[in-house]
């Protein structure tokens, strides 16, 4: 760790350091872009992944915390903190040209904190309307409904964008621009559309049937979870995680629980650990089955959809018996799980493991092996490994581009380091690879379940936790492998019983970030295929 610190001090003498869970580098705004470039490009540092961009409001200053990861050096992570004291017109240099993933992430920060990013190509709001007054995640935000009445008219000027360009003399001037060219034939896909898997809107400029550019318009179901969490206690904040990516409910909640447990220094009983991991893997199977079904349905093969759902029912039945719900299970709690497993749990899981291999064969027969399906999926939506890393596309989509990014392998958590499973990697870089990675991950999840199902240890399902949970002063970042990629939770605590800042770094947010890259040059029908194979879940984007 100190080695890194030394090298950063050489690169940027004005940087100060905070020790903590990860090394935190405090850097002044004027030095930030230079340091970022050095961190990414200097040999021996090579922080090639921007894992999280977290907007912050420390009352006396606004700022951004960047979590950087270096894949070539054992996924080492550092955090960089950039602050500005100007609350009226805060500006920070954009790093969206270094890490493309920052493009949407910085728009989100701009939307919620009003921090303008210099040299960002498209500085529009991401979730809220252009005419929204105020920046909701600022601590002094006025939530008076009179300021932002329910609009009765369409949003105006949605094609207008602006870029804050720094001139040679250091002066920053706003350069207005347009999202689409004047004569573009723009087809609106969503927000109410059968194939956007939720309330998502894409605006696609098409030339005949060929897509030229895709503009992502998000925020139709944004619930402001991060803001809500700031007013709630930690146990109360837990239930939101099930409502973000509802297909990764267990993993997401596992992540938040682990982050809180890490902060409290709480040891989770072995039985709870095993149950949590089994639930995570069941969730993954259920999610990948849904993804299989939806991909098939988006391609017009409705029957395959029902086959996927048939097996998914079994997983949901297991959840229903143990958790009491089929969706939004609210199962993990701080220190363990809320209830013990149902007596049928072991039997049901064994039955699922028994039938899955033959059912997977059936899926391949009816869909994956079909010549039409292969023609529709193969060589569609090319995403190279470099782009996957640069856009931080984790999960099955990243592994379909041959990027080894499985959090269970690179940052083992819970009991994953003891388990024997393979990380599925395919090098097709297309929709078919992403789809096949999911199908193979179902097999791997079954393998994990098989190892655990007979070895659930006796013991407590929950550690003793105090009635009122207070975290010490500090900050923590925890990642897990959710069904769709690396899910991260950032907690900043001031020692109170509610978080000062709780940020969720969702994988789907990055997935929509590559829609323009992967869809350009393909056809309208491919846009649907690519969306289905990337498999984003909208509530995870609109947190």
């Amino acid at each position: 760790m100190s080695d890194i610190q030394e090298r950063i001090s050489q690169l940027c003498p004005s940087a100060t350091f905070e020790e903590g869970e990860t090394l935190m580098v405090n850097v002044e705004e004027k030095d930030w872009y230079g340091l970022a470039k050095a961190l990414k490009e200097t040999k021996g540092l090579e922080f090639d992944v921007l894992s999280a961009v977290i907007g912050m409001d420390w009352k006396e200053s606004l700022g951004v915390i960047y979590y950087l990861t270096s894949t070539s050096r054992g996924w080492e992570m550092i955090a960089v903190k950039v602050q500005v004291t100007d609350r009226v017109n805060p500006m920070i240099h954009s790093v969206s040209d270094l890490w493309k993933v920052a493009n949407f992430q910085e728009r989100e920060v701009y939307d919620f904190y009003g921090i303008k990013f210099i040299n960002h190509p498209d500085m529009r709001r991401f979730f809220l309307r252009n005419d929204w007054k105020g920046y909701p995640l600022r601590k002094d935000y006025d939530a008076d409904p009179k300021l932002n009445p329910i609009p009765t008219e369409d949003e105006k000027n949605e094609d207008d964008t602006v870029s804050y360009v720094e001139g040679k003399d250091g002066k920053i001037k706003a350069v207005p621009g347009k999202v689409f060219e004047e004569n573009d034939y723009v087809v609106n896909i969503g927000p109410q559309h059968p194939s956007t898997h939720g309330v998502m809107r894409f605006r696609a400029a098409v030339d005949g049937e060929t897509v030229k550019k895709v503009d992502v318009v998000s925020g139709y179901i944004h619930r402001g979870i991060e803001k809500l969490c700031e007013g709630l206690t930690y146990p109360q904040a837990l239930h939101f995680t099930d409502r973000m990516d509802y297909m990764s409910a267990h993993q997401n909640r596992h992540c938040l629980c682990m982050c809180i447990e890490k902060a409290m220094g709480l040891e989770v009983p072995r039985r709870a650990q095993v149950i949590r991991v089994m639930m995570d893997e069941l969730m993954r199977i259920s999610s990948h089955l849904l993804s299989f079904g939806c991909t098939a349905m988006d391609l017009g093969a409705t029957t395959a959809f029902f086959y996927g759902f048939r097996e998914r029912e079994m997983v949901l039945d297991i959840f229903e018996k143990t958790c009491g719900a089929r969706m939004s299970m609210n199962y993990n709690v701080i220190g363990g799980v809320i209830a013990d497993i149902h007596p049928d749990f072991v039997k049901d899981v064994k039955e699922l493991i028994r039938i899955m291999p033959e059912r997977l064969k059936e899926y391949h027969k009816v869909f994956s092996g079909n010549i039409i399906a292969m023609n529709r999926l193969k060589k569609v939506g090319h995403l190279s490994k470099e782009d996957a890393i640069n856009y931080d596309i984790t999960g099955p989509s990243g592994r379909g581009s041959n990027w080894s990014c499985d959090c269970r392998k690179v940052h083992p958590y819970s009991i994953y380091s003891e388990l024997d499973f393979e990380e599925v990697l395919l090098d097709g870089c297309d929709s078919y690879s992403r789809y096949m990675v999911r199908m193979k991950e179902i097999e791997q999840s079954c393998k994990i379940l098989e190892q655990l199902v007979d070895r659930i240890p006796e013991g407590d399902i929950r550690a003793q936790v105090p009635k009122v949970i207070k975290l010490p002063k500090g900050r923590w970042y925890q990642q897990v492998e959710a069904s769709r990629g690396t899910f991260g939770v950032y907690i900043e605590s001031t020692g109170e019983k509610n978080p000062y800042r709780l940020h969720f770094q969702s994988p789907c947010f990055n997935l929509v970030g590559v829609m323009n890259l992967t869809c350009s040059g393909y056809m309208i029908a491919d846009l649907i295929t690519i969306g289905a194979a990337l498999d984003f879940v909208i509530p995870d984007i609109d947190r």
Binding site: V187, P194, S195, T302
Partner: protein
């Protein structure tokens, strides 16, 4: 074989007995028009249920079960629902063309229905160019779809209509060539004669290899002609919400819906007529006893049964295959299907010229 023509001519004589000639023709026309429309509706309703039940069984479901025994009355409930729905008129559309489009689509399919030979003596129009007429009328339907897509003033419908135009015009070529292959073999375009030609054995057996190839080409092209999966691009609901009929509601939408199902029956009926003997029972040359037993089954049952079977096959692959993409679909037609049908036509001509057939 029972000839239904006896009944119809008796009825004709009965009317002639007390009505002047011109009035007889008028009365008969009205009765036939009513019969055709009634058949049309009943068949469409049956087909909706047929497809819903079949697709449910393919998908490990039961399908409609609540209204009536096994859900048989569900389609009637749906029909009344669609009849009483509001016809929503939209801003900035071409009102006249918008309303005209569904009628063009449904008219073309009713006219085609009227040409089919239902049984021995049960045929409404019998031209000497019958099959040619059917092909000609079937191309009118695409006009309605294009108009619907254009007049709706919606981007989805326009893309759907463009796809439909490209698709139907392309696949019409293969469809026509497949039928012409059989016309070459039969030497006639008259529907009645076509059926009688198959008295000794159906064309698919008599024409052997070229006839079987033509049959397969026909099934593929006919699926594309009726906009059914895997060629349902004009209304690909996962891409274009509902394609060309996105903006239609009530009975106007119902017309598109009915026409789609009826076209499925019609293309199956044409396949039956051209390849499987029309209403002609299954005859095997030399097996007179067997042939006589087959003759006992009424010809109308043969026709409807065979048509339903072909529809079953088409429905089967709709619910199995994913949808193709527009460029794949067009290249499939122009690069593979059409050259194959041309080659097949030559093969058939050689077979006919050299007498290599049964």
């Amino acid at each position: 074989m029972f000839n239904f023509g006896i009944w119809t001519s008796e009825f004709n004589n009965f009317l002639m007995g007390f009505l002047p000639d011109w009035l007889t023709v008028v009365v008969e026309c009205v009765i036939i028009a009513l019969l055709v429309l009634l058949t049309y509706t009943v068949l469409a309703l049956f087909y909706i249920l047929y497809e819903r039940k079949l697709c449910a069984w393919f998908q490990c479901r039961l399908g409609p079960m609540r209204v009536g025994k096994w859900g048989v009355l569900q389609v009637f409930a749906d029909m009344f629902k669609i009849l009483i729905k509001e016809l929503i008129s939209l801003k900035d559309t071409d009102r006249f063309l918008f309303k005209l489009a569904p009628y063009i689509v449904i008219t073309s399919s009713v006219v085609m229905l009227a040409c089919l030979p239902w049984g021995n003596g049960l045929q409404i129009i019998d031209y000497n160019i019958g099959i040619f007429f059917i092909l000609a009328v079937s191309s009118v339907g695409v006009l309605g779809i294009l108009l619907a897509g254009w007049a709706s003033n919606n981007k989805y419908t326009l893309i759907g209509a463009m796809r439909s135009g490209a698709q139907m015009i392309s696949y019409e070529v293969s469809l026509g060539l497949a039928l012409i292959t059989i016309v070459v073999f039969a030497g006639t375009m008259n529907i009645n004669e076509l059926v009688w030609e198959q008295e000794s054995a159906w064309f698919i057996f008599r024409g052997h290899i070229p006839a079987i190839i033509a049959f397969l080409i026909y099934i593929v092209a006919a699926t594309a002609e009726t906009n059914r999966g895997p060629f349902d691009l004009p209304e690909a609901e996962h891409e274009l919400t509902a394609g060309y009929h996105t903006e239609y509601s009530g009975i106007h939408f119902g017309f598109f819906y009915l026409a789609e199902y009826l076209n499925l029956f019609i293309v199956s009926g044409i396949a039956t007529l051209m390849f499987l003997g029309g209403w002609m029972p299954l005859h095997i040359p030399g097996w007179d006893g067997f042939n006589n037993v087959m003759n006992w089954i009424p010809s109308i049952v043969w026709f409807i049964g065979k048509s339903f079977f072909i529809s079953y096959v088409i429905i089967w692959f709709k619910w199995t295959f994913p949808r193709v993409r527009i460029d794949q679909m067009l290249s499939f037609e122009w690069k593979y299907l059409m050259p194959l049908s041309l080659a097949n036509l030559v093969l058939m001509a050689v077979c006919v010229a050299l007498g290599w057939h049964f």
